[in-house]
Subunit: 355 residues, 2 copies
Amino acid sequence: MNKRIENVLKRSEADELLVSDPIAIYYLINRRFYPGERFLGLLIKKDIRPKLFLNVLFPSEPIEGVDIVSLSDTDVLTDVLSQYIDKDSCLGVDKTLQARFLLLMQEEKIARRFINGSLAIDKTRAIKDEEEKQLMRKSSQINDQAMAILKTLIKDDITEKQIADQLLGIYNSLGGEGFSFEPSVAFGKNAADPHHMPDDTKLKYGDVVLFDVGCTYKGYCSDMTRTFFYKKGPDKLQEEVYNLVRKANEDAENFIKKGVRLCDIDKTARDVIENGGYGKYFTHRLGHFIGIEDHEYGDVSSAFKDLTETDNIFSIEPGIYDPETMGCRIEDLVIVTDDGCEVLNKYPHDIEIIG
Amino acid sequence: MNKRIENVLKRSEADELLVSDPIAIYYLINRRFYPGERFLGLLIKKDIRPKLFLNVLFPSEPIEGVDIVSLSDTDVLTDVLSQYIDKDSCLGVDKTLQARFLLLMQEEKIARRFINGSLAIDKTRAIKDEEEKQLMRKSSQINDQAMAILKTLIKDDITEKQIADQLLGIYNSLGGEGFSFEPSVAFGKNAADPHHMPDDTKLKYGDVVLFDVGCTYKGYCSDMTRTFFYKKGPDKLQEEVYNLVRKANEDAENFIKKGVRLCDIDKTARDVIENGGYGKYFTHRLGHFIGIEDHEYGDVSSAFKDLTETDNIFSIEPGIYDPETMGCRIEDLVIVTDDGCEVLNKYPHDIEIIG
């Protein structure tokens, strides 16, 4: 049995786990399936080879260490599952398992009890192994390079969309596969909307320019934000805002190490911004976990009291969104280490005038 | 209460329905939400104003005829729901409701019984009202126009991707919003793979050219396939294949009217191809229902024995995928009428040499 499956089973409260999320399955057996509306499931339990329930519409090469159980559209799903699942077991199902499957399984009593079994997978995924850390480093390295190229594309009257449309090509040329999320490009007042999507807004002299972008590399995500000034440096208030955000980012990153509470990392950044008088303009959590998905289980927020563990990877992205002064966010990804953290983004935090 | 909600409740076996699929909610109250991992739900029951459970992160204008119940990330979902759901009721939940919500609801016993309540919605959606029919007609009209433009773009050595990349612009120029699905463009032997995605294959003299494309118009989907010949007409076997597919399409369309079994429509087309000796090369169902989504509940297949109803809309898309001769598919959308059907695609079925 592979190490990841072993780690998940160690954390699991259920007797057996039926994993149905294609991304969790990819994590566990390194194969991606796109089952659409068809059932897909990986059954894992101690001392038994994992079984992959796979519709014949999605043929697969053999998978090392995994038995494939073929399903067809005319099979009764619960009949097949009950040949492999102990009807007296407590079965952990995926948090995303759809009701149309779960209700049938419950009706046919294929297990004694059904529980949400995802936490064991989510917590295992939150601790990256060596291979994953390497891929995350490379993905962020590409993102750093892309940021350096992106800022050279701006000029008077170019639109946010015209910039965003060039980013996929940049990632491809650097070895990335695609976006890890839809890129945000925001000029001027748009930067004060933390969820702004690129539109036809044209760049003007003196605008703030915010890029929140990320790619995937061999399936692993990057995610970084930088805020620039177009042709003209910040005025006094803007400089104050920028430096507060920068200090919030860097104080939080300096605070991180194994065994601190995630909520306290959030507080470290939030205190900086609150003490600076801009607390009400920092309207979101400080960060989110990331890996195969841009947003994975785990928050850097006041509500998340878990302790960091070595090899957690998450974002640190304080922001101030003051419509009168400016919108600003500075975001890096970090890997938690025993006595600190490794910041994956090397693109500097300094105030930078571009164009 | 609006007509669509009324129709769903008439068909429902449950006492109350908790709709959580954002597309079903859009269908019922004409608002689109993108809740991500947050809970979204619309509770409908007889003689009570619908309640929309909506996270405060997704602020909404008031919605006529609907009460909005705000949720925040710190609320206990089941506490809120149980204020509105009768604990002695049989609650219909969406087939796509995630286990993490359903298991909590069951644990807290917010209802006496939980069933899959989606069929009532799916069957209501399968019968289009006047407004929907108009939008579907317009969407297919744009698709007809796009097909006529698309075929003029081909030339020696252009790649499938280069053609596909131009299609979004064509739809936009014609008033469409976007793709209803990723377009398929297949040259030569690629046409014999019914799921081929556009790649760097270059067009050559004598190739078959297959376009399977669709757009959305005001949220409603089109979907059509035509197969052309590049610069050189079909040889004798290709002509035979093409004419069989055409006859399968037209015989099926002529057979359609209110009250026939969907499996018999499939059989009408399949018989033509089987009698022509190509049965083993027609490897998929004849069609699928369509509307707000490209694939909606309802199949035109041997397994689907339901009767057609007036104002059903589905695709008729026979194909022959013979790697030795050619791949060919001819697909239209149709609206069932009392005594026949209205074919939404006016683009002709004739053999056409392009380029």
